[in-house]
């Protein structure tokens, strides 16, 4: 199905281009532009190929299944309307790329810009070509997202960030409404397929859900098209680079809203609800937008409000519900895109060449850039609706529709007056744009000396202006075919009669045009004094500031309410938080106990306790209580006692048939102890004070409360574990593991097989966590600043160094070096045996207790011993461990092992096992899980060593800090 392939390519190409551009280096502007140019040229070519198939209301569709159970599919569909939009998106996109090539400064990262722009282009094409409602919404949200990135392209600029955030908030909120509306619409129709939806107009209009669906979809469309009262985001989005405004805020993004209205016009228009919701919104936007545009001092602000107003015009036309009005709407979509894109580009050139967009400072530029000025004048005349230009034609059609009778209501009858008023406003602001910028006295305080832009920067405007003229002079020949095919997709093959002629004789619309022209000129002349006074904003309606309302809502939601909630429920102090956590845990555990009485003793026969076990636990309990008692004043003792409790835990594992746990616990115990020992050095000295001897009442009360909590936790844990242990073991998933560990996992050590095979994905996550933690530890310690009273060398080292310094035959540091001479010697020579032990533990892991994790810790202990023996400098003189490499390789090995099974067509991390006979060594289990375990091993070595070394290095940092402070 080559058509289908082409259709997918049409949407997919920009995304592919975006990906390619994003991979380019920062300065590769030409390559990025070339990629974008290639995408647009091919895109235009493909779009043109489709033209013969979209005439007379016909369409081409292509589908790929996505989630068929929910009726979701990657379905694309092109008809006349989609074709018009596709050619606009690609065509104007290509011109914008050419323009941006000159606009984006050399110091800005052009590939990023092009990448975002292409991604946006793809998203926009997805919206117009989607053949499935959900897919349409998906691309719709993508356009919001990429417009956010594009508006915020100069993210160092606060205005750009705010504008981007506001645009995203408003359009994405509308997008959510649209999503709900689309789902409801799909429910009414019974399918999300656009062809089916478009064929079920009767069912949709008669559904009881029609009104909610309509309101939700309109919320999506009106926010996107910046319709009153959601228009305020568009002027704020003007902080985007001008190519973005020319593309998004004239031809594409904001047109998505009116596209959606046109798309659903066949099934939703013509109802009273549609008329009374859409027409007032469009009318208000048309008039208010045009009125505000007159009073803007920013060139782009003027164009933004003008865009709002023109979108209001299109919305109004679509709202009227008559086929002729819909044709006019489609025509105006095309015309507005063409003249507004060229005007934005002209404004960008003015900004680029003079350094300002402020109408109060700009003046008389005609002298410096006559060519650009002529082009802008023609485009502005098209915007004002001057005859022989494209804007005139669609405006006349609009005036004719405004005069025509639709519902006979007051609203309908008032339309001609409002339309003429808006026409006057548009003439006034177009005049202001031209006269204020290009005429008048020479400019005085411009940041830069203006001149004509580069040849090819002007080319897009030239082309667009020529199109304006061609459409304006020979409309029927130029776009009659295009308008017909696009309009047929909206109103059906049975097109109403309309005439694309420049001259229709003397009639009412022409009279309205004349009144608008004359009135606009008079209005501009009358307002000149006020405008020159320099005040920002219109004289009336000053308080009608939707932006301020929006900001107030945002502040209330995200700041005031959030703060209030935080004050009620939050605390910045750890102790109350932990206390709350413990209390919640106690409550959560006691509820089922109270409800089901689970604390009773079960019937399982007890395992007889041996005296040795009792003795071991007597020691363990003593250690735990001792550690709790000593942790405040005797840290080393507490650490030793904790280690004791750890060893008892370890022995218990061993006793109760968990050799893997015992081994791991023992090794982790060693590393943890070393880690904490290294940290002890940086903690403050704590001496028992008078206050400690006689604690205050509040402290005693707090201790009693904590004691009660601790007792509750302890008792609860005891009772729960006893209750479980005295009940028989039910049949659990363990059966699966035991039965298949050897036959399918290829290993006899069930625990290891569970870790590296059955639950390999968990382990992958776990080692990733370890990796992240190690990097965090490393990063935090790089910025570590010890407290001033911990900076000094420890007392013992000071005494030893003083002893060395006092004797001429000794170097400072000799005593420290001699101090552990024999243990040091032994430690250094322990490296090879420990490394061998690590390999041994690793190799046997699949069959016997051991495995990658234990082996990794063992090897890291071997490294750490070297550091302990020779000191940081001594160890690093002979040994270079590159922990980051170990970690990276480990994570890579583990992930690639998992991915390898994907290549062979199995799910991620599927393992393969067999035994291999190696000479001398004998039978060795060679499961692919072994490779995975190797990754675990390398990562654990890297992570553990990284943390320990980072901490150990702090002992080098301390004294150096002191010296840098300038002490003797």
């Amino acid at each position: 199905m080559p058509d289908g392939m082409l259709l997918f390519a049409l949407v997919g190409m920009p995304f592919l281009g975006s990906l390619l551009a994003s991979l380019l280096p920062r300065a590769a502007r030409e390559s990025a532009v070339l990629i974008a140019a290639a995408v647009t040229v091919v895109g235009i070519g493909i779009t043109i190929l489709f033209y013969p198939q979209v005439q007379e209301g016909a369409s081409v569709a292509a589908k790929l299944p996505w989630i068929p159970e929910f009726g979701l599919e990657f379905g694309f569909r092109i008809d006349g309307l989609a074709w018009l939009f596709a050619i606009l998106v690609y065509g104007i996109g290509g011109l914008v790329v050419l323009y941006a090539r000159y606009y984006i400064a050399a110091e800005d990262p052009a590939p990023r810009f092009i990448s975002f722009l292409l991604a946006f282009m793809g998203a926009m094409l997805g919206v117009v070509l989607a053949g499935n409602l959900i897919l349409l919404v998906f691309f719709w949200e993508l356009t919001s997202l990429f417009s956010f990135l594009l508006i915020g392209y100069w993210h160092h600029n606060a205005g750009a960030r705010d504008g981007a955030r506001m645009a995203l908030t408003v359009t994405a909120a509308g997008g959510i409404c649209l999503f709900v509306g689309a789902i409801l619409l799909g429910r009414i129709v019974g399918s999300y397929d656009l062809d089916v939806v478009l064929a079920s107009g009767e069912a949709i209009r008669s559904s009881p859900l029609f009104l909610p669906v309509l309101v939700l979809i309109l919320l999506g469309a009106l926010t996107k098209s910046a319709q009153f009262p959601f228009h305020f985001w568009l002027p704020n989005a003007m902080s985007a680079p001008t190519p973005v405004s020319a593309y998004l805020h004239s031809a594409t993004m904001v047109k998505a809203g009116v596209f959606l209205l046109a798309r659903l016009w066949p099934v939703m228009a013509g109802t009273d609800a549609w008329f009374y919701l859409v027409v007032p919104a469009g009318l208000a936007t048309l008039v208010i937008g045009a009125y505000f545009a007159i009073f803007q001092q920013d060139l782009k602000g003027l164009l933004a409000y003008s865009t709002i107003s023109h979108l209001g015009l299109i919305t109004l036309l679509l709202g009227l519900g008559s086929p002729l009005a819909a044709v006019a709407a489609v025509f105006h979509i095309l015309n507005h895109a063409i003249f507004k894109a060229s005007l934005f580009m002209a404004a960008g050139i003015i900004d680029h060449e003079t350094g300002t967009r402020d109408l109060r400072r700009l003046s008389g530029l005609w002298r410096y850039m006559p060519f650009t000025a002529s082009l802008a004048m023609v485009a502005a005349a098209a915007m004002a609706g001057v005859p022989l230009l494209n804007g005139f034609l669609s405006k006349e059609m609009f005036f004719a529709e405004a005069v025509a009778d639709h519902t006979g209501s007051l609203l309908d009858d008032s339309l001609p007056y409002f339309a003429t008023l808006a026409g006057m406003f548009s003439v006034a602001y177009s005049l202001r744009f031209i006269l204020g910028t290009f005429f008048g006295p020479p400019p005085t305080d411009l940041p830069r000396m203006p001149h004509e832009p580069p040849r090819w920067m002007r080319f897009p405007i030239e082309l667009l202006v020529v199109i304006c003229l061609v459409i304006g002079i020979i409309p029927g020949r130029a776009v009659g075919w295009l308008l017909a095919s696009a309009a047929q997709a909206v109103v059906g093959t049975d097109l109403p009669y309309y005439s694309l002629a420049v001259w229709h004789g003397f009639n009412l619309p022409l009279l309205m045009s004349v009144i608008a022209m004359a009135g606009g000129i008079v209005l501009y002349l009358a307002l000149r004094g006020y405008l020159a006074s320099g005040s920002e904003g219109p004289p009336l309606l000053q308080d009608l500031n939707a932006q301020r309302i929006f900001e107030n809502v945002m502040v209330t939601l995200s700041w005031k309410w959030a703060r209030t909630l935080e004050q009620i429920f939050g605390t910045r102090r750890l102790q109350p938080q932990l206390r709350l956590l413990v209390m919640v845990a106690i409550l959560a555990a006691s509820v089922p106990v109270l409800v089901h009485g689970a604390a009773s003793v079960g019937t399982r026969a007890l395992t007889p306790a041996t005296p040795a076990f009792i003795l071991v636990w007597a020691i363990g309990i003593a250690c735990a209580l001792g550690a709790a008692h000593q942790a405040k004043f005797h840290r080393l003792a507490a650490l030793a006692l904790t280690g004791g409790a750890g060893l008892v835990t370890c022995l218990t594992f061993l006793w109760l048939s968990a050799p893997d746990l015992a081994l791991t616990q023992l090794l982790v115990e060693i590393v943890t102890t070393v880690l904490i020992l290294l940290g002890l050095r940086w903690l403050p000295k704590r001496i028992i004070t008078q206050e400690d001897m006689r604690p205050s009442g509040a402290v005693i009360a707090r201790r009693f409360r904590d004691l009660a909590l601790a007792l509750a936790v302890g008792l609860g844990l005891s009772m729960l574990s006893y209750a479980v242990m005295t009940r028989p073991l039910p049949d659990t998933v363990s059966r699966f593991f035991v039965e298949r560990a050897y036959t399918e996992g290829g290993g006899t050590n069930i625990v290891n097989v569970i870790l590296v095979d059955f639950r390999g994905f968990d382990t992958l996550g776990e080692i990733t966590v370890l990796c992240v933690v190690a990097l965090t530890v490393f990063a935090m310690l790089r910025r570590f600043r010890p407290a001033p009273d911990s900076v000094e060398r420890p007392e013992q080292q000071r005494i030893q160094n003083a002893y060395d310094a006092a004797r001429p035959d000794r170097e400072v540091g000799d005593t420290v070096a001699d101090y552990l001479l024999i243990p040091r010697f032994i430690m250094q020579w322990l490296f090879p045996p420990i490394a061998v032990l690590a390999v041994y533990l690793f190799m046997r892991g699949h069959d016997l207790p051991g495995g990658g994790f234990a082996a990794g810790i063992v090897l890291s202990i071997a490294f750490v011993l070297q550091y302990m023996a020779a000191g940081v400098r001594g160890a690093e003189a002979v040994l270079r461990v590159l922990p980051l490499r170990w970690m990276g390789l480990g994570l890579l090995t583990a992930s690639l092992t998992g991915l390898a099974s994907l290549l062979l067509g199995y799910p991620f991390l599927t393992s393969y096992a067999r035994y291999v006979h190696l000479p001398v060594v004998g039978e060795v289990p060679m499961a692919s899980a072994l490779m995975f375990d190797l990754g675990v091993f390398a990562l654990v070595v890297g992570a553990t060593v990284l943390m320990l070394i980072a901490l150990a290095h702090q002992s080098l940092r301390g004294p150096r800090e002191t010296r840098s402070l300038g002490e003797p």
Binding site: R573, A710, L717
Partner: protein
């Protein structure tokens, strides 16, 4: 044995919780260690106590679940030990950094 282990778990958990609620960072880190022991043993005890039956299979035969200690809690605890280690390391460094920044070893950085 069940009774002894249950008491042991309770004492470790209680001592850990007590330290967890103390104001000094070092007490909290020791408390976390003790609490980890308690919780690991607790999870482990969910597989019931079985001395002398480590879950190591004979080669060449499918395993019989009745003949071995439950491997599932062991697998879970093994993961928990590793994560506990990572947590201790991270907390230790947070503790040291906080001490360097605030000059105090109080959990909330309050002065003495």
């Amino acid at each position: 044995m069940e009774t002894i282990l249950a008491i042991g778990i309770g004492v470790l958990g209680g001592a850990g919780t007590w330290l967890l609620l103390r104001p000094r960072t070092y007490q909290v880190i020791i408390g976390l260690s003790l609490l980890s022991y308690a919780v690991n043993l607790f999870i482990f005890s969910m597989g019931r106590l079985r001395p002398g039956a480590p879950p190591i299979l004979e080669k060449g035969v499918a395993g019989d679940p009745a003949a071995f200690a439950d491997p599932l809690p062991q697998g879970l605890v093994l993961t928990a030990i590793v994560i506990g280690f990572a947590m201790t390391a991270l907390f230790l460094v947070v503790l040291l950094t906080a001490r360097g920044r605030t000059g105090s070893d109080h959990v909330d950085g309050l002065g003495d």
